[in-house]
């Protein structure tokens, strides 16, 4: 209408107009995506805080009196409490174990001349490429023979398998960034190689260890398949609890939303805590600095 009457305006915008246009588009895109990101969280949270019966009313009650009824119901379910505690325990143990196994190996890969180092690193990465279903199938058979089926120890071992490659790669990158002169100085002062690692290198690599620990925690925490195949009752993780909840005939939506919130919130806190090093961790150490 009125806008296209200005002659020549569409051919060549002057610099200021163009910059304003970029700015407007940028803000429009960012605000739209913010809404897309926030809305599901908001919806899940509000659903978990609505009294039963109101949870899935349409048109939705935008204004309602929040209640923790669903959360109380949830905590009174012993299956949920067990599953949540199981996950917390198994995942934490797996993080400790994967750090104990992975961090020293990463140090060696960073500091020593390893024959075929590239191939070793790609082999390590290949453990991530193996589809978990193909890995879990043999373990399903072996675990039953070894009485590891439906045990927390068995699940810890499987969680280690998801994260070992991540820990080795990220920590190698962090160790590469720590100058070797630091340890050499310590060794001149009479420290052994091990003391140099423990007292000099490890403290310097703390941010790396912290971030890789949290990211490993998240990857194990969200895993469903291992629980589905390798547990039945005693070692059920929280993901499997949520899954079996979806499967039940008459779904109590409010409680399902509450259970999901309980699973999501700790991870949100972790992500925010580690956000500075997230890119380093998720890119397997390829991006170290922002």
């Amino acid at each position: 209408m009125a806008t296209d009457t200005v002659p020549g305006s569409s051919q060549r915008l002057d610099k200021d107009t163009r910059e304003t246009l970029v700015k407007v588009v940028r803000h429009a895109v960012l605000l739209t995506w913010s809404l897309v990101v926030i809305f599901p969280f908001y919806w899940l949270a509000s659903m978990s805080l609505k009294p039963p019966g109101e949870a899935n009313a349409l048109p939705p009650d935008w204004i309602f009196l929040p209640t923790v009824y669903n959360y109380i119901q949830l905590v009174q379910q012993s299956e949920f409490v067990t599953a949540f505690a199981n996950s917390l325990l198994m995942v934490s143990a797996s993080v400790v174990l994967v750090l104990l196994i992975g961090v020293p190996a990463a140090y060696v890969l960073s500091r020593y001349d390893i024959p075929m180092e590239r191939d070793v690193l790609v082999w390590i990465l290949s453990s991530r490429m193996l589809p978990p279903i193909a890995v879990v199938l043999p373990f399903f058979i072996i675990f039953r023979e070894l009485n590891l089926f439906d045990t927390r120890i068995g699940m810890v071992l499987m969680y280690v398998s998801i994260n070992l490659s991540l820990v080795v790669w990220v920590m190698k990158a962090f160790f590469d960034g720590i100058p070797e002169t630091l340890e050499e100085a310590a060794r001149v002062d009479g420290a052994t190689r091990f003391q140099g690692f423990r007292k000099v290198v490890l403290p310097a690599a703390k941010p790396g260890i912290f971030s890789v620990a949290i990211i490993s925690f998240i990857f194990a925490w969200i895993e469903l398949l291992f629980g589905l195949v390798l547990t039945s009752f005693k070692a059920v993780p929280v993901t499997l609890f949520v899954y079996s909840f979806i499967g039940s005939r008459s779904i109590e939506w409010g409680m399902l939303a509450a259970a999901s919130m309980a699973m999501i919130l700790p991870v949100v806190v972790f992500l925010i805590a580690v956000n500075k090093y997230l890119a380093a961790g998720l890119s397997f150490g390829v991006v170290i600095k922002e």
Binding site: R26, W43, P104, V108, V242, Y243, L271
Partner: protein
């Protein structure tokens, strides 16, 4: 790890010898556990899948096993629907990877352009949050929000637009899965790309700006080439992880309706636990495993990790 210091009190000479052994062979002690676990989680499952795929009845006794030739593979690809599930998997992996990379990069570029540093870090933290949602919770959210009867999204589409909302889980299940995964994992691409963009030196950007190159050309000719290793690694890792997809689809549709969303991983799971055909499941698993590992290794060999290795 048992360190020699624990034996110190018992006998001095032994402990000294152990300490020497510990320090002289440190790289071996440090690498040993990792290598053992790696063998256990790579070679062992691969070999065992292959063994299971080649026998008639699953048995732990190798000598009692009856060799089945390629029967299990034949069953898998004729009655087992393996081929269909490979097509479904490739559709999901390729579409989700494309969507997530393009969207992740665009968001990273837009956020990088924000002037106020407070707004910048606000967006940066907000946009990573969908990653906190486990795939099975993603399925939960999908079921809650997309449900034809109680879902808010069909309700809004019906109320606010002239179009009738599609039945997300039965009419367009594959697209729904792809979109849910995109919401869930675009943050992964976003945060790595954002870090990559921030690492582009200002001098490089200044030089391009002085040249008078328009914004898009600066991206195509200066910024993206500089970020190549970052783009490569992010895409490769997301590709690897997309082949691992299970929870979101299993929680949302269990591979259905029919076999519309039956990923390879779901097909294998169903062969194992619903059809009780472990050997057929193993046949599909070994094919899947070999294809994925081969594909990733070809990509790594072709593109190489330039700039990634020192």
């Amino acid at each position: 790890m048992s360190t020699p210091t624990q034996t110190e009190s018992t006998s001095q000479p032994t402990s000294a010898r152990l300490r020497e052994l510990w320090n002289d062979y440190l790289p071996y002690w440090f690498m040993g556990p990792m290598v053992l676990v790696m063998i256990m989680i790579t070679f062992f499952p691969g070999a065992y899948d292959l063994y299971l795929a080649l026998i008639e009845e699953p048995t732990l006794n190798v000598f009692a096993a009856e060799f089945a030739g390629l029967d299990n593979f034949e069953t898998a690809f004729t009655r087992g629907g393996a081929l269909h599930s490979f097509v479904v998997t490739i559709t999901v992996v390729v579409s989700a990877l494309l969507l997530e990379s393009v969207l992740g990069f665009a968001l990273a570029a837009f956020v990088a352009g924000v002037e106020s540093s407070r707004a910048k870090s606000f967006y940066r933290v907000l946009f990573i949050l969908p990653m906190a949602v486990a795939p099975v919770s993603m399925a939960t959210i999908g079921r809650i929000m997309l449900n034809s009867e109680i879902g808010i999204i069909p309700y809004v589409i019906n109320a606010a637009t002239p179009f009738a909302a599609p039945a997300f889980l039965s009419d367009i299940p594959l697209l729904t899965v792809i979109l849910l995964d995109t919401w869930n994992w675009t943050p992964f691409m976003f945060i790595i790309f954002y870090a990559g963009l921030s690492s582009v030196p200002d001098t490089l950007l200044e030089a391009a700006r002085v040249d008078g190159a328009p914004l898009w050309r600066r991206y195509v000719h200066v910024i993206i080439p500089y970020m190549k290793p970052v783009v490569f690694v992010a895409t490769l890792i997301r590709l690897i992880d997309l082949f691992r997809t299970f929870g979101v689809v299993y929680g949302l549709t269990q591979g259905g309706p029919g076999t519309a969303t039956q990923l390879v991983s779901i097909n294998i799971y169903e062969q194992m636990f619903i059809n009780n055909q472990i050997t057929v499941a193993a046949a599909i698993a070994i094919v899947y495993l070999v294809l994925v590992v081969a594909l990733c290794n070809v990509i790594i060999a072709k593109v190489g990790f330039e700039g990634v290795w020192d």
